[in-house]
Structures are given as structure tokens and as C-alpha cells.
Symmetry: C2
Amino acid sequence: MAVGQTDFPNMPPISGIQIGTTNAGIKQTVRDDLLIFQFSETATCAAVFTQNAFCAAPVVLARENLLQSPRWLLINSGNANAGTGEQGMVDARQTCDDLVQITGGKMQQVLPFSTGVIGQSLPVEKIKNALPKAVSNLAENNWENAARAIMTTDTFPKGVSKEISLNGETITINGISKGAGMIQPNMATMLSFIATDAKISQPLLQQCLSNATELSFNRITVDGDTSTNDACVLMASGCSNAPQILAGSENHTLFSAAILDVAKALAELIVRDGEGATKLMRIVVSEASSDAEAVQVAKTIAHSPLVKTAFFASDPNWGRILAAVGRAGVVEMELEKIRLYLDDVCIVRDGGRAADYTEEAGQAVMNQAEIQIGVKLGRGDFSQTVLTCDFSYDYVKINAEYRT
Amino acid sequence: MAVGQTDFPNMPPISGIQIGTTNAGIKQTVRDDLLIFQFSETATCAAVFTQNAFCAAPVVLARENLLQSPRWLLINSGNANAGTGEQGMVDARQTCDDLVQITGGKMQQVLPFSTGVIGQSLPVEKIKNALPKAVSNLAENNWENAARAIMTTDTFPKGVSKEISLNGETITINGISKGAGMIQPNMATMLSFIATDAKISQPLLQQCLSNATELSFNRITVDGDTSTNDACVLMASGCSNAPQILAGSENHTLFSAAILDVAKALAELIVRDGEGATKLMRIVVSEASSDAEAVQVAKTIAHSPLVKTAFFASDPNWGRILAAVGRAGVVEMELEKIRLYLDDVCIVRDGGRAADYTEEAGQAVMNQAEIQIGVKLGRGDFSQTVLTCDFSYDYVKINAEYRT
């Protein structure tokens, strides 16, 4: 079940970024569950990680290795290697070492990522045995396989591709992401891998990524739970013919905007595939006194089980939205100034139900699969958008039956 | 569906506190939906109210009238009179005036309370027409009827009774409460009414109530949503033969403890009747560096949809509990110091799964209807307990079908 799912897009190869996948038997299915990225020597790499205090062993190691000029990403699905203590660190290092035994290079040049069940030991032998096949598969035209290899409860592979022109030369940006539950990225993101052939320094690349994730992955939520394993990586191979992107240049502006576009599109795909989702809700809080206040109100609505179940039922139960705004913790908020909209239909004005509101108009909006909830606070000029999905029987079913 | 529901207790009359109920047709059922409390002239009355910024009209009026020596509570279920703008205030005042037209007294001596659907006009005519019958029913031995008249999605009436002896004289404390969804009382409580025949000044009574609610109603959550209409009232008729309770006396200590006991028991009944609940979870966070930190960690666990669905499935999926602790926002928390328990079974120690943990032992605890989740943070000496329930198909069903 997914809201307005689109077909996997055509994703052209990115020069200098090779991808290899295979089935290592971690998930006990026939699907690929092991994925390697290999970059050219000219590449730079940026990453952001979960802020969960108990981040997984691979996150700890990837954060350490990020500034060692990484050449490889080693990713498995089916096992999170989280809550695994000191052995988890040993295991993560072991798999990095196993990879460079085949490819050459130093194990510090490998960034490991894991996603799946928390609290079980990483099956290092299975990974070791599968690595030769994944390495032998390395090719630039392998993006859809990569998107499929990182799926867990996802119902479709998530990819976005975009081209921009810098000084007449084409730059390609490809991104893939996974995630459907345990989704409230916090100053970081879900597992997402974005690659480009642009030439750009690591610090500038990191800045582009940090800005983009704040306004994309950090503005979505499925269930308010923040994973121990969230990470987003941006790789730039430097293999395009376009000139180096320099800080403050027009090309920098164009490139940053394109990265943000890709990140937003990938984030939206995660919400569309939210566990059990039947509706996509775009919560736009405006006239706030700060960005933080707008996000706070939007997330309080987005996390309300009562709001989410009402949307599942296509019930224009605006009292629940209003109650959520009221408990968002904003000081000195005045009900009389609030206006509440479902798409263009004004529901609340002057402290109560808008005089011209009709249940029929509200119901017509609620029957749609994609709905904008607009909240105008009447306090200032700041505006932020948070995406979420509804809460259905299937959310309960998926999470009652699946061992995260 | 309720967890470990008990029969309604025998609740003796409280001298000086009369109760009248009737069906006013607000809920369109045959159940009583209108309730009046009438106190003796010697009575004092304390109350706490929701901190939701958009509190309902009756809450605004009750807060205003609290210090006017109230003699009556006027309570309806089926309509919250919230999100109703200026008309809501006019309607709330009108019903108070309608009551004193029958009973005598001033309308400022009436505290109004409403619970039910948000955003619909209060049916003042129906209430006016039903008031004479409710007044004619006034009697001291009417507690079960009162508990039933305030129910909305509750599946059973909630009552607690306790007697204590002060200087050889018996003091009786009776309490009733309602609530099953939109439950995360914030510095206040759900609708709850507690009465006693003790003699005690209003300021001291208010202090007893504020202390008790903080450690009882403010320590429960069903879905993290805070109602616009929460209120808890403590009435003391002063009709017992025990001496006046004075600040700092031994009787004050005994009385405060008894009020806290009653409030805790009423709060627990609300969680047992949590919408769709099949399990009661008692989350005990200890070794925290402050009470606030302990509550913060406990509530993050209690609000996690992933934890709640795992408990519904009786799945000892401790990775989700650990992930929730990790995202609770506690600074410089160390995974290595955390110990996690299900009842007496230690699951996590030394940064990972406890060496002696077995899935069988975890499963045995999870199969129970009532489970204690213990989290030792290794940071200090503070400890707090939060009660919650699981998230089931029925929670979704109830809230997809019911217009709050």
C-alpha cells in the first residue's frame, strides 16, 4: 500500500560511481540485501547521521571514517547491527576489512551502513561470503538494483534523478532512499544515498547535504520514532566536464537547489510508502513567530494518533487538529487568530467553526488521497511544511507482525 | 475491551455532597448524559484544568468561577463545547444560569464541565429542559450513576473509594473519572471528580489536589493527545466529625496521601480502559538525573507507536524500546550504562543484549496482560513511573469511526 506511487524512474549512470548488489542471505529471502558503492579516486563524500543517542555500530564507524577520503559504502539490509555492544563494532570493522581484502584500499576508506532488526548480531560470515559476488557486479548502471537492495518494509524502490547544466555541461544527480516505519529523522535522515558527477570539495558538499536534509528528510514523519541507523550520504565523483563548484558561485546556488529538490523528492517517497499509509498529508504552518515554532506545531499535528486515524477514516474531524495545535507548547497562542484549512476550505476562523464552512466541502477534500492541512497562526512571518501519512489498521498489522 | 477491569466498587454516600443525573438527549442514547453535584454551604472546592492553549468554553468559565465559593458542578457528556468561539461562552453561562433558576444561588457559583465532540454548539435547550429532573434526583447515594453519566468511549464506569481515620473520626473519599482516548493530561487531568467529607480550607485543598494530579493523572498517557476539556475537581463538604485539617499537621499528611492514592487509582482505571487497550504497561525509569528526565524518557517510550504495537503483538522487541530511550532527547546518555528490564528479566546490559537473556524469558513476560518496563539510566537517583497501554487494531477502529 502506498499513496500515489510512481514507477521507478530512468536513472542514468553517474560517471565514477559503481554499484554492486547481491543476496547474502541476511533477510532469508531471495531479494538482494547487500550493496556496495565504489567511487572514483577523485570523489568527495558527505554524510549526515541519526541523532539517536544509541546510534548503531555502523553509524559510529561511518562517522569516524567519513574524513578518511572514503572510496566505498558497504550497506546491508535485514540486520541493523544496533544494540549489539562492543561486538557490533568488531563486526562492522570486520566487514569493512573483508571488503578491502578484495578491492584493495584501507578499511578506513569504507563507510558501513546497516538497516533491519535491532539487537541481533551481524552475520559477518554471510556477508564475507557474498562480497566477491557483489564486487564482481560493480557497474555504473545499477541504480534500480541498489534501490531494491536496501528495502525492508518498503513496498516499492525509491529513486529520483535530476540533471542540471553548469556552464553548458550536464551534471547528473541520482538518489535512492529506503524507509517506511520508525520515521522521524532528527537532524539527519533515513538511509538515503545520493550521487553526482559534479566536482566539489568535501566541506562544500557537506554543507549542501546538511542544508538539504534539514528541509527535506527532517521535515517528514511517519510515526515519530527516530531510527538508530538513519544516515544520508552524498557522493560526488568529480567525473563530469563541468568546472569545480566553488563556494558562493552561481553554480553553487544551482547545485544546492538541485540537491534540495532531489532530497525533498526522496523524502516524499518515504512518506508515500509510510507503513500502512492510505493518505499523504502536507501540513503547512504559516504566520509563525519562528521556523522552529512552525515545525513544532506541524509535528504535533503530524504525530497525533487521533488526527492520523481521522484522516484514515476520511473524517473532517477538525476538532482533533485544533486540539493538537493547542497542545503544541506554543506560549501565548490565541485561538481567535488561528485559521485552519483543508486545501482551500477554511474550517476555523474567529475562534470557532468558520461561518461559511460546510461539512460537504470538508468531506470533499478528505476523500482525496493527498491533502494539505493549512494552519495560520497569526503570530509572524515564518512558514514550514511537514509531510506525514495517516494511521491505518495496516500500520498496526505491519508493526505487530514485524520484528524491527 | 479493558485490561483487568474490576467491578464498580461500593461507594458510600459523602455527607454534604448530593448528586443528580438524567438523560438530556445530548448523546442520542438512553444513557444519562447530564450530571449535577450540589455541595453543602460548608464545602470547599479545588480544581485543576487542561493546559491545552485552546481550552474549551466551560473550562474558561469554571476557572473564573472557582474562587466564587462554588456550590454546584454542572457536567454534560456528548458535547465538548470546545472550538465554539464566543457563542460557546454564552452557551456555558446560559446553562449555569438555567441551573440556579431552579436551585437558587448565583450563576457564578456553578462550575460547568463538558466532554464529547469538539466543534459543535452546546444544545442549551436540551440541557435546560433536562435540568429539573436532574435536580429532583439529587441524593448522596448516587455515585455509580454519576460515573456512568460522564462516560464517552469508556467501556466501564470508573470509581474509587477510600476511608481514613483522623483523630478517630472516619473521613470518606470518593472519586470518579472518565477517559479512554485523547489522554495525555498535561499539568492537569481528564474529567475526574473527587469528593470527601473532610473539613479543609480551599487553599490547602487546592495544594493537595495539585500535588496529587501531578503524580497520578499527569503520569498516564494513552495516545499523547491532550484534551481541550480536561479537569479534575476535589470537593470537601466539611460535614465529617473530624477536626479541620491544618497545614503541616499529621492529619494533613494522612489526608494528602489518601487523595494521592485515590487519584492514582482513578488514573490507572483510565489507562486500563484506554481505547482498544489489551495490555497495561507500567514504565519505571530510575537512576535518572532529575524527575523531569525520568518522565521524559518514560513518556517517549509510552508514545512510541512501534513500542505500543509490539506490545499489542506480545513481541519482546526490546530494540524498539531502546531506540525510544535513545531519541528521548537526554544529553550525554551512555548506552553502556543502560539496563532494560521486562518485569524482572534483564534484557539489555553493557551496551547490548544481556548475556543471560533468553527470548523465552522475555516472551513469558510479554504474554501477560500487565507488564513493567524498567529502564535504569545510570545517571542519578531520580525515579518516575508512567502508565500507558498498547496500540491495537481497535484503537484505529474506535478513532476512525468516532467523531471526538
